[in-house]
């Protein structure tokens, strides 16, 4: 049955966005945890730990997200997990986000002058205490604008989950196209919905950046 692309379909697309946002949130939490570990490993003074973090970031950043997604999708059955697009997408996107967030946050930690570490050390604080009480409070302020910027990348990239059949905004767009046969109108609407989500975040990130570094 071919029907016209109407308001009902737009409504369906809007509802499908909740899965885009759910996947983004999951990946951001999972990736945030991984990223935190990666960033701390990078500034640790133990070189094997640093090497592990570097390898992780290089490997993930040098592999297309699409490949990551498919490796996890087909790898699930090998480790005995149920082959569900949701699980594969959550894992792949968390691991992907972990590499990028880890690198962003390492940059923020590195930007804190070495003397701050030394001052903490002179006060008798251990590595963990220096990190928690001296370095991180300062680094967080610097890390927020690029983190929001990455969030935009993450939202856009969740569209790739459509390729393993995870029904989020883009997949819903494909399904709507199949039943209405009006790809131009459908995909423009889909793009517009992404824009509505991402543009405010982009502006916010830019605003935060200007505030922390002054006018460019």
């Amino acid at each position: 049955m071919i029907r016209e692309f109407g308001w009902v379909d737009v409504l369906y697309l809007v509802f499908a966005m909740r899965w885009t946002l759910a996947l983004t949130a999951t990946a951001f939490i999972g990736g945030g945890l991984i990223g935190l570990v990666i960033a701390v490993l990078r500034v640790s003074r133990v070189w094997p730990l640093q090497a592990i973090a570097v390898l992780y970031v290089q490997a993930i950043q040098g592999t297309p997200l699409l490949v990551l997604l498919f490796v996890f999708f087909f790898g699930l059955s090998i480790v005995g997990l149920p082959v569900l697009p949701w699980i594969a997408a959550a894992l792949a996107f968390s691991i992907y986000a972990g590499a990028f967030l880890g690198e962003i946050w390492r940059g923020a930690l590195d930007a804190i002058p070495k003397t701050q570490w030394e001052a903490g050390s002179a006060l008798g604080l251990g590595f963990g205490e220096q990190l928690r009480h001296v370095i991180m409070p300062q680094a967080i302020r610097m890390a927020i604008p690029p983190t929001v910027g990455f969030l935009v990348q993450l939202i856009k990239n969740t569209s790739l989950a459509a390729t393993i059949g995870f029904v989020e905004l883009t997949r819903e767009g494909q399904l709507t196209t199949a039943s209405t046969f009006q790809p131009f109108a459908v995909y423009l609407t889909v793009a517009f919905l992404y824009f509505l989500t991402c543009f405010p975040l982009t502006q916010w990130s830019r605003h935060l950046e200007r505030r922390s570094y002054g006018p460019a």
Binding site: A59, Q61, G62, T63, P64, L65, L66, V67, L68, F70, V71, F74, G75, S77, I78, V79, G80, V152, K156, N157, S159, L160, A162, T163, T170, G173, Q174, T177, Q182, P183, F184, V186, Y187, L188, V190, A191, Y194, F195, C198, F199, T202, A216
Partner: protein, 220 residues
């Protein structure tokens, strides 16, 4: 759970895989040139052009940067034919990738041009150089050096993103993987091998860009 990994069938298709690599390299190279050209033109338009042009470039950059590449690809490949504009898959892929990269390149080039201190431009003018001469002899080289690292990493991201064009059946490396998968059913193995190949390509690109930087910029 026991699973026997079998890579033999995957490696047997090496010639086919090589074709995919060639297509991925072709897509990357063509798009880099086109995307950079768009980026330079739009950055110039945004910095030196009249108001309407600046607004237009701003709309272009923001609408591309805030929507997914996959959806852009679908609009151009599946959507435009309903307006009577029809491309084959590879052309649609090149157009989409170039337009996409162009938006990111615009921002990078603009930031690079803006980063050249105003005083140097004024110094050039006071020596009696024309606008074009100032641009060529004073602004261009330092600006290029400043934008080079960002452009290089954007190019690598683009190379990885060419995998997305497999979704409209462009026969790139990723598409080759899905064909081998459907023939051998060795899905996990295929995508692991392809992943390693992409990783190697990314390393080669990174090495190449670093070498180019040494050759062009380091001696100055």
């Amino acid at each position: 759970m026991s699973y026997t990994f079998q890579f033999r069938d995957v490696f047997a298709a090496w010639e086919f895989i090589l074709q995919g690599v060639a297509m991925t390299l072709y897509l990357s190279a063509v798009t880099m040139v086109l995307g950079l050209a768009i980026g330079v033109a739009c950055a110039a338009g945004r910095l030196y052009g009249p108001k309407p042009l600046r607004v237009l470039v701003g709309v272009y950059v923001e609408s591309i940067r805030n929507t997914p590449l996959l959806v852009q690809l679908f609009i151009i490949f599946f959507g435009l034919p309903s307006l009577g504009v029809r491309f084959d898959a590879t052309t649609a892929a090149v157009i989409t990738l170039a337009v996409n990269l162009g938006a990111y390149a615009t921002e990078i080039v603009r930031a690079g041009l803006e980063a050249v201190p105003k005083a140097q431009v004024e110094a050039g003018h006071s020596l009696g150089l024309s606008g074009l001469q100032v641009f060529r002899h004073i602004v261009l080289f330092p600006a290029l050096r400043m934008m080079y690292p960002s452009l290089a990493s954007q190019f690598i991201l683009l190379m990885l993103a060419t995998s997305i064009t497999s979704q409209i059946a462009v026969e790139d490396l990723f598409h080759v993987a899905s064909i081998i998968q459907s023939r051998t059913f060795r899905d996990f193995e295929v995508y692991t091998v392809i992943g390693v190949l992409y990783l190697l390509l990314a390393l080669v690109f990174r090495g190449g860009f670093a070498l180019l930087y040494q050759l062009v910029f380091a001696r100055r």
